[in-house]
Structure formats: C-alpha cells, structure tokens
C-alpha cells in the first residue's frame, strides 16, 4: 500500500520546474499563419519595398524628374547594352530617358509616389466611409434600411463612366482652387473613395449584425456603456480583420483606377508623372522603345499583384477556422 502511494506523486502538476507559458498573443498566431502563405509574404514584402522606394527614392536618386536634357534624349536603359552594343546607353541614366531627355528612373520614383499616395489616401477614405456606413447600418436598426438601400443604389452606378465624367467636368474649378496637382489629387482621391466604399460597408454591416447579438455586447450594455463606447471598444476591434482584407482590395482598386484615368488622359497634368501617365505617353512609340511601356506597366502590375496576394494571405491568416491547419 505505502509503496504504491510513494510511486504516484499526486502533486506532480503543482511542482512543474518552469512556470506555465503566458497565453499566446492572437497576432502571433496570425503572423505564424501568414508566414505559411508564400505569395502573401512576397506581396507584403513587395508592397513595403515599393512604398519605401518611392518614399526614400528621391533622397537616394537626386535627379530631378522634370529636368529636360534634350541632348541626352531617347537613351536606352543600361541593360540593353548587354545584347546591343550600339544602343545609346549612359551609366548615369540607368533606366534611360524619354523623348524630352527626362530621367526615367527619377520619373518612375516620382510616378510611384503619386500612384501610391492616391492609392493609400483613396483606400483610407473609402475604408472610413465604408466602415462608418456599415457600423451605422448594422448597429442602429432605424438607419439600416435607408443606408443599405443607398449602398445598393451606389452599387448599381456605372462606376468607370461616372468617374470619367466627374474627373473631366470638375477638373477646371479644382485646379483653379488647389493648383494643378493638388486639385487633381483631391478630385481623384475623393471620386475613387466615394465610389468604392460599398463592399466594405456590406461586409462590416454583416459582421456587426452578428456581433451585436452576442453576450458580451449585452453585458456591456447592461453596465450602462453608451452606444459610442460599445462601437469603439467592443465592435470595431472585432471587425478589424474583414476591414483589413477589404483595405487591401481597396488599395488595388484605387491604384488601378488612378492609372486607368491617367491612361485615358483625364488624370494628372501632363508634366506630372504617374505610372499610368507614363504608360499612356509611351504607347505611341512602343515599337522603338518598349521598355518605356514595360517599366511602368510592370510596376503597376507587380504592386497590384502583391497587394492582392497580401489580401489573400491576410484573409487566410485572420480567419480562425483556417488558422492552425
């Protein structure tokens, strides 16, 4: 009897050598799942790279994108020299120059700056409108019918034609008030933001409707928390994951829309480079200088591809049902 009692140590669990690990942070789990999606890691990395490149680029590559250097016009990129020794290349113009002698690398950086600035701002605008409408519609029953009807109406607007109409028609007054670049920036950001918030609003509303009936909201309300505090403290942190996913989609849409408008010739003024504008300007001479089409085109495509992959990875990583598989 006493032997067996000695063998079994009833307090083993209480005598662990090391203390129990603190519970893992939710975001560490998310990060672990996110790392498994190779495309998403590449996409996120590329987005960070391109953002840093356009932010820091002007300090590293100090050539002015607008400076005309007519003697060195139509310089080919440096890598053309590998297979075509006779091509006109210059070491201090690594990406070549355009038909007015403006440095293409500097233009790419400046153009990327404009495209990314428009993309991020328009995305943030459409995200805040979408979240606002979604939360209001989901939380306040009185507003639901009205706001969702409005969302449906906005969804049935012909977006690209309306964008074209708005940008062409309101260009002049905004330019007069805010300067040619500033006015165009405000116009494109506002117009893209106003026409792309609907998906976010729908998703957020659905999530809020489900969350609102949960016990913790009831508990919060029973101790007298105001609606504003419930939304800020309990609802918004819980809908952050669908918002982040739709943020990536919104960024992709905003970048493509800005480039499309510039491509159709209704975007920024002609001396202000953006990727879409560079692409459009290069199309008439693409037989001789295909790199001028390829460089901005690849930049747009890779950025959008990266953002889309990032969204895919985030969706998987933020979904607790998929996580851990």
């Amino acid at each position: 009897m006493t032997d067996t009692a000695n063998e079994i140590d009833p307090y083993a669990a209480l005598q662990d050598k090391e203390p129990g690990k603190p519970p893992r942070n939710q975001w560490l789990d998310v990060w672990d799942q996110f790392k498994k999606h190779k495309g998403a890691v590449f996409g996120g990395g590329f987005l960070i790279f391109i953002t840093l490149a356009v932010l820091l680029g002007p300090y590293l590559w100090t050539v002015d994108a607008q400076k005309l250097d007519i003697r060195n016009k139509n310089v080919r990129p440096i890598w053309i020299a590998i297979w075509d020794g006779g091509a006109k290349t210059l070491w201090h113009r690594p990406f070549g120059t355009d038909n007015l002698g403006r440095d293409l690398l500097a233009q790419m950086i400046a153009g990327g700056r404009a495209s990314m600035a428009v993309g991020w701002t328009a995305m943030l605008l459409s995200l805040s409108i979408g979240t606002g409408v979604g939360v209001a519609a989901g939380y306040f029953k009185r507003l639901d019918g009205l706001l969702m009807r409005l969302t449906d109406l906005f969804l049935s607007l012909p977006i690209l034609p309306l964008l074209l109409v708005a940008v062409t028609l309101f260009r002049q007054p905004l330019r007069a008030n805010f300067g040619p670049e500033g006015g165009m920036f405000i116009l494109i950001v506002v117009v893209v933001g106003l026409t792309s918030w609907m998906q976010t609003a729908r998703i957020v509303r659905g999530e809020i409707l489900a969350l609102k009936e949960r016990e913790f909201i009831l508990a919060a309300r029973s101790i007298g928390t105001t609606s504003g505090a419930i939304i800020r403290r309990h609802l918004l942190p819980n809908v952050i994951s669908p918002i982040m996913v739709s943020a990536t989609l919104g960024l992709a849409v905003a970048i493509i829309t800005e480039s499309a408008l510039s491509f159709l010739g209704v975007g920024f003024p002609s001396d202000f480079p953006t990727w879409g504008k560079m692409l459009a300007d290069a199309v008439p001479r693409m037989e001789e200088y295909p790199e001028r089409v390829l460089l901005p085109g690849i930049a747009i495509s890779l950025t959008v591809l990266g953002v889309n992959y990032l969204g895919d990875g985030l969706r998987d990583a933020l979904d607790p049902r998929i996580r851990g598989r």
Binding site: L160, V293, L305
Partner: protein
C-alpha cells in the same frame, strides 16, 4: 417566382430614377458651356436664342423631365417605327407612325424633335445604335471566350486541389486579375503585332466581310482585343468556379453518389457541376456590365469604334447629352443584369424562395 420578378422589376424603377438624377445632377453641376466654341462675333442675343434652342433656358426640373421624356417615350417610338419599317425581324408588320406628330403649320405629319448631340447635331440614339454592334462583337465574343476558358480551368483545379495544375492556375488567374487591361493591351501589341507581326494592332471597323480572306482578316484583328478582355473574365470566373466546386465537392451527396457506384465523371460533371454552376451563373450575369466598362479602355487601346470610345470622345468634346445618354445606358445595363442575376438565382436554386 413571378410575383418576385414583378416586384423586383418595380423596385428597379426608383433605382433607375435615382441613377438618372445622379447623372443629370453631376452634369448640371459641372462647369462648361456648350456655347464656348461659338465665335465671339456672334451677338449675345443670338447666342441666347441658340441656348434656348438647345433647351438650356428652361428650369432644371423641366430639363430633367424633358430628358426623361425623350429617353423613355420618344426614342422607343422611333425604335418601334424603325423596326416595323426596316428591320429584318419585324419588317413584315405594317409600318407604324408613333414617332410622327401633326404639324399645323406645314399641315402634314413630321417626325418629333429628338435628343441631339451637340457635337454632331444628329440624333444621339442613331449614333449609339451605329456604334453598339462593334462593342457587342468584341465584348460579347470576349466574354464567351473568357467563360469557355474559365469553366474547365475552375473545374479541374478544384477537382485536383493543391496539384501543380491548381497552383499554376491560381497563380495565372491572380496575375490576370492584377494586370490592368491598359497594360496587357500594349504588351500583346508589342509581342504579336510588332515583334512577331502576326496580328494587326488596330481594329479596322470599316472592314467588310464578304469572302474567306476578309473573314480571316476579321478574325485576326479581333483576336487581340478579345484576348485582353477575356483574360480579365477568365481570371474572375475561374476563381469563382473553383471556390464553388470546392464547396460542393466536400458535401455529403457527393459521397452518396460515389457510394452508389456512379462513375467519377458523372459525379463531377453532373452532380457537382450542376450545383456549383448556380452561383457562377449569377456571377456571369453580374459581370456583363463591368466588362462593358472595361471595354472603354480596351476600345481606346485598339481603336475599336465602339460605344466606349464614343463616350470618351463625347466627354472631351463636352457633348453633355451624349455623355448622359451613354452613361445612362451603362446604368440600365447594370440594373437589368442585377435583375437577371437575382431572378436566375431563384429559378436555378429550388432551395431559394423569395415569396
């Protein structure tokens, strides 16, 4: 189902009215004067008369109602008259005279005043009807080609989930999803027209098909724009197809079908496919308007003389009635295809009952 369809059609009327108000308001708010190009030597009172002739003197709501009247009542009357007079399908019917009104001064029937373009001074609908076939040929063919490519890719990559084909397929659709048409267009032109010289880079709208050689030329000039548009469609639809197939392949009825000894082909191509097609068909219907929007850019790249290019030229020429009409046609298309998608969903899926 019928009551649902009727109710749904009735609710789309306020939607259309809202959209028309938005478009009209946008164009009203916009600066820009149709008289801007009239020479300065024209005296102001003549200018005022010209303005009134264009209907610009009237108050805003009168202008709006007049526009609605033109779009929904006068133009369909002209369309019916044209159909009973010249069209192949209804030409055998007795000619109608809906669009004619009696003019007491001339003491005979004259055609009603139509909505005219400020740019060309001809009826807008005539120009639009001239342009629509080009767009429909390119866009419609692109959509069909895109769907035909997308469905097998989606089915196979869902069936062989995580296989090499699936990985490659998802990657390619992601790329197709991300590359904008204004880049694929020039890229394909550089590759196939400039470097290889196989296909023409500009779409020749005046080309007449009357023999085998001209038919081959027509085909070759359609390949590039159709491919550019089809890439977008393929990317979207195959993603939906794959997701929908994946949902259904894990269902219990699939195991039952296999357990009772059905061939694998029957299980996948009949049981699973039919159930997975329900959401995909609605997505296909919903995608039609957006591909017309995408055609604006593609038409611009390849010089297709279609409705998208008409919109762009009208915009640059400040031709407000034309812009308004085309934008509204796009809006009608969206509303109609949303309606079709909703109704199709109810018809195809017996589990869904709207009533």
């Amino acid at each position: 189902m019928l009551t649902f369809t009727i109710r749904r059609m009735l609710t789309s009327i306020p939607t259309l009215l809202f959209i028309s108000i938005v478009i009209f308001g946008l164009l009203q708010l916009a600066p820009g004067d149709p008289m801007a190009q009239v020479p300065l030597t024209v005296p102001p009172e003549v200018k005022q008369k010209m303005r009134e002739a264009l209907g610009l003197g009237a108050p805003v709501h009168i202008q709006y109602l007049k526009w609605l009247n033109q779009f929904f009542i006068v133009e369909p009357q002209f369309l019916i008259d044209w159909m009973t007079r010249d069209s192949f399908l209804f030409g055998w019917l007795p000619d109608t005279q809906f669009s004619m009104v009696y003019d007491p001064e001339l003491e005979k029937m004259v055609p009603q005043q139509r909505n005219i373009s400020w740019q060309t001074r001809s009826p807008i609908m005539d120009i639009v009807i001239q342009r629509i076939p080009q767009t429909l040929w390119v866009v419609g063919l692109a959509y069909i080609v895109g769907i035909l490519i997308a469905l097998p890719i989606g089915i196979y990559s869902a069936y062989r989930h995580y296989s090499v084909f699936d990985q490659a397929g998802t990657f390619i659709t992601m790329v197709g999803f991300s590359i904008p048409p204004f880049f694929t267009g020039p890229l394909l032109i550089v590759i196939f027209s400039v470097t290889l010289g196989w296909l023409p880079s500009i779409y020749d709208t005046t080309h007449v098909v009357n023999d085998w050689a001209s038919f081959k030329y027509q085909l070759s000039q359609m390949i590039l724009p159709v491919m550019v548009l089809a890439l977008q469609t393929t990317a979207q639809i195959s993603r939906y197809m794959r997701a929908s197939m994946l949902d259904n392949l894990n269902q219990d009825y699939v195991r039952t079908a296999r357990a009772k000894g059905l061939k694998e082909g029957v299980v996948v191509m009949v049981h699973v496919l039919r159930n997975s097609m329900i959401p995909v068909i609605t997505v296909i219907a919903l995608g039609v308007p957006s591909i017309f929007g995408g055609a604006i850019i593609t038409e611009n790249v390849f010089g297709v003389n279609g409705i998208g290019q008409l919109l762009i030229t009208a915009l640059f020429a400040n031709d407000i009635p034309m812009v308004m009409t085309i934008t509204f046609i796009f809006a009608i298309m969206i509303v109609v295809f949303n309606l079709i998608a909703d109704v199709l969903y109810g018809v195809l899926d017996p589990r869904i009952r709207y009533d």
